[in-house]
């Protein structure tokens, strides 16, 4: 909110020196701007306090622990800072888990994108009533606890579950994918698909339908219109959805733990092991720091790409 600057009159007003014209002086404008920013600060204070207490300070503690040293009895010496735990990230076992987490998260994001795009386009091109009903359907899974839903998948994918029965009926033999990477990816796609659908829907819904028609009118085939018109214009939604799926997939703990068989398939499980079982807090902290850096980078890319307009 800014005040429109009124140019100061060059001479006495038409009414002469006595005319009391209401005039925004530079002093008044500065005071108004100060009051404005003070009000803005006060209104955002609760959010700042929250971020400080529950993000900035804990994050600082994580950074401090990541450069500390594990002592022989499993405690942590905060004195004697070093980068030993970061050096351990290069060890094959840690590196493998890091890369595995990355590709599982990337694959999950890509599958979500491919599944969600046509679906979102379909929703966005319905009448408003149908749209709202379909969006409610997208949200319905959130009414059940995430943990419960993951255990449900465990039943579905288990050796006596419906999944094995279906593959057998299709003549593919009794397929058991529980406790494999496929099961983890399936669970992640299932869990995070709504985070892809909603921003994609919002982005596609805003595109003027006559632009698609203009594309077709100008000799573009359906596929060309998608590539040249629809996809570039829905890019903010593609980016937002990808970040929203990629970030929690990378740090996922519950799904890999339940559907991956707790074999430290992904980074989240491994970090928990470091803190609780191995009692190596510096390594756990350094892994957390790396994870958060990757996520932050992904988010920054999104904002750089103009995602803040969403």
């Amino acid at each position: 909110m800014t005040l429109t600057a009124v140019p100061p009159p060059s001479g006495p007003g038409p009414g002469g020196a006595g005319a009391a014209l209401l005039e925004a002086t530079p002093e008044f404008e500065r005071a108004a701007a100060r009051a404005d920013s003070r009000r803005g600060f006060l209104l955002s204070l609760p959010a700042y306090v929250y971020l400080l207490l529950f993000f900035a300070i804990p994050f600082g503690i994580v950074v401090i622990y990541s450069v500390a040293t594990r002592n022989t009895i499993g405690g942590t010496d905060l004195a004697g800072w070093n980068l030993d735990s970061y050096r351990r990230l290069a060890e094959p076992i840690v590196r493998d888990i890091l890369f595995r987490s990355l590709w599982i998260a990337v694959l999950t994001t890509l599958i979500c994108l491919v599944v969600a795009y046509p679906f979102s386009y379909f929703i966005a091109t319905r009448t408003p009533t149908v749209r709202n009903i379909m969006l409610v359907f997208v949200m319905i899974p959130f009414w059940t606890n995430f943990l419960v839903r993951n255990y449900a998948w465990r039943v579905i994918l288990g050796s006596d579950g419906p999944f094995a029965a279906v593959t057998e009926a299709l003549g593919l033999g009794r397929q058991e994918i529980l406790f494999t990477h496929s099961a983890v990816i399936l669970g992640l796609v299932y869990g995070f698909l709504p985070f892809m659908v909603l921003p994609l829907y919002a982005a596609i819904e805003r595109i003027d339908g006559s632009l698609i028609e203009a594309g077709r009118d100008l000799y573009a085939s359906g596929a060309q219109t998608f590539r040249r018109v629809l996809l570039p214009l829905s890019m903010p939604g593609v980016l937002a959805g990808s970040i929203l799926v990629f970030v929690p997939s990378l740090g996922a703990y519950v799904t890999p733990q339940i559907l991956g068989g707790g074999k430290s398939t992904m980074l989240g499980s491994y970090i928990v092991v470091q803190f609780l079982t191995a009692r190596n807090w510096p390594l756990g902290a350094s892994l957390s720091f790396v994870l958060m850096t990757v996520m932050l980078t992904a988010t920054l890319i999104y904002f750089r790409a103009g995602g803040r307009n969403l």
Binding site: D208, S210, L211, E213, G215, R216, D217, L218, L233
Partner: protein
């Protein structure tokens, strides 16, 4: 040399959306090189008709030909027509130049050919220097020009325009009317133009098709549509008209519902219910009894005088019906006021009698 085959031929075209009939058995032929306007109120089916020609809708029944080729079932990218959309529909993520080049690129025209054609199209609409601007950096009139260039660069056989001037302000609209007309003569392409603005249609078109309720009511040159409407809707919709209900009671005689009989030539059989349409500027005002011999006339009383600046409208009532008479505001004009007894007269040939 214009082709003898019609540029656009619609034969018994019907378009239904569920239970709604948007276009109802329309027959229409638009000649090569013609500037044709589809005119009607909103919801009359004119835009649907245009979209059918463009391929953005497919006809439910009927035949649609472009220069003799049946195209009714072809998708828009396989029809030799281009559209200027109502809101221009410029691609917001492309520059003006990229927008104009889009159609040529999609058709895989060689790069060496694209560049000069885009340059020519931009020059044609006087947009040189704006090539690198994005649509949101252009004014409404400039966007309109880019949209025109984007369509014309493809040398379509027919250019379709959906209310192209609707979003512009009055001054700009009037300037663009003349420019669009000149542009059409220059490129020689058949223009099919949808509008709800009868002034625009009269000023620009070679021929006008008036639509209402999905039906094509009358097709003709602007003078013909204006002077010889064939039905009540057309008489009412185009310009201002005094519409007087009555019945044919003899050769060239119509008895109005208020009992007054007037001379109004038509070839409608006696007993037919008709509407007599008389344009306000075709009627003349006289002191009572002062009408010329050969004129048809009625006596009445001035009920109201409306001052329009360049003209005056006299509302003359006679036996509870009334006729508006328009007189140009010239020095020495009739000084008649409300309450004066007058005679309204007109050339018998200047009224149109249409059957209800």
């Amino acid at each position: 040399m214009p082709s003898a085959v019609p540029a656009v031929g619609l034969h018994q075209i019907t378009k239904r959306f569920g239970d709604v009939i948007a276009v109802d058995s329309v027959d229409l032929e638009i000649a090569d090189g013609e500037f044709f306007a589809l005119l009607g109120p909103s919801g009359c089916g004119k835009t649907t008709t245009l979209r059918l020609i463009a391929g953005l809708e497919f006809p439910t029944t009927g035949s649609l030909r472009i220069f003799g080729d049946e195209v009714g079932t072809l998708p828009p990218n396989r029809r030799p027509v281009n559209t200027v959309f109502q809101n221009y529909a410029l691609f917001p993520h492309m520059t003006a130049e990229e927008n104009v080049a889009f159609g040529l690129r999609m058709r895989k025209i060689p790069k060496a050919e694209v560049e000069p054609r885009v340059r020519d199209a931009i020059a044609l609409v006087h947009m040189e220097g704006m090539e690198q601007r994005r649509p949101d950096q252009l004014s409404g009139g400039q966007q309109q020009r880019v949209a025109l260039a984007r369509a014309l660069v493809n040398s379509p056989k027919v250019l379709l325009l959906d209310e192209p001037l609707g979003a512009l302000d009055l001054k700009l609209r009037e300037a663009m009317q003349l420019e669009l007309k000149a542009l059409q003569r220059e490129v020689g392409i058949t223009f099919v133009f949808v509008t709800h603005d009868q002034g625009e249609a009269l000023a620009m078109s070679d021929r006008i098709g008036v639509m209402d309720g999905g039906r094509l009511l009358q097709v003709g040159a602007p003078e013909e549509i204006y002077a010889r409407p064939t039905n009540r809707f057309v008489a009412d919709f185009i310009g201002h008209a005094n519409l007087l209900d009555g019945m044919v009671t003899g050769p060239d005689r119509v008895t109005l519902t208020n009992g007054v009989t007037i001379a109004a030539p038509s070839d409608i059989q006696p007993g037919g219910r008709v509407t007599v349409s008389l344009r306000p500027e075709q009627a003349f005002l006289h002191r009572q009894g002062g009408a010329p011999e050969h004129h048809a006339s009625v006596d009445g009383q001035v009920e109201q005088v409306t001052y329009l600046g360049n003209a005056l409208i006299y509302r003359v009532s006679f036996q509870w019906m009334h006729i508006d008479v328009r007189e140009e505001n010239r020095p020495g004009g009739a000084s008649v006021g409300a309450g004066d007894d007058v005679t309204v007269s007109w050339e018998p040939s200047s009224v149109a009698v249409v059957q209800d």
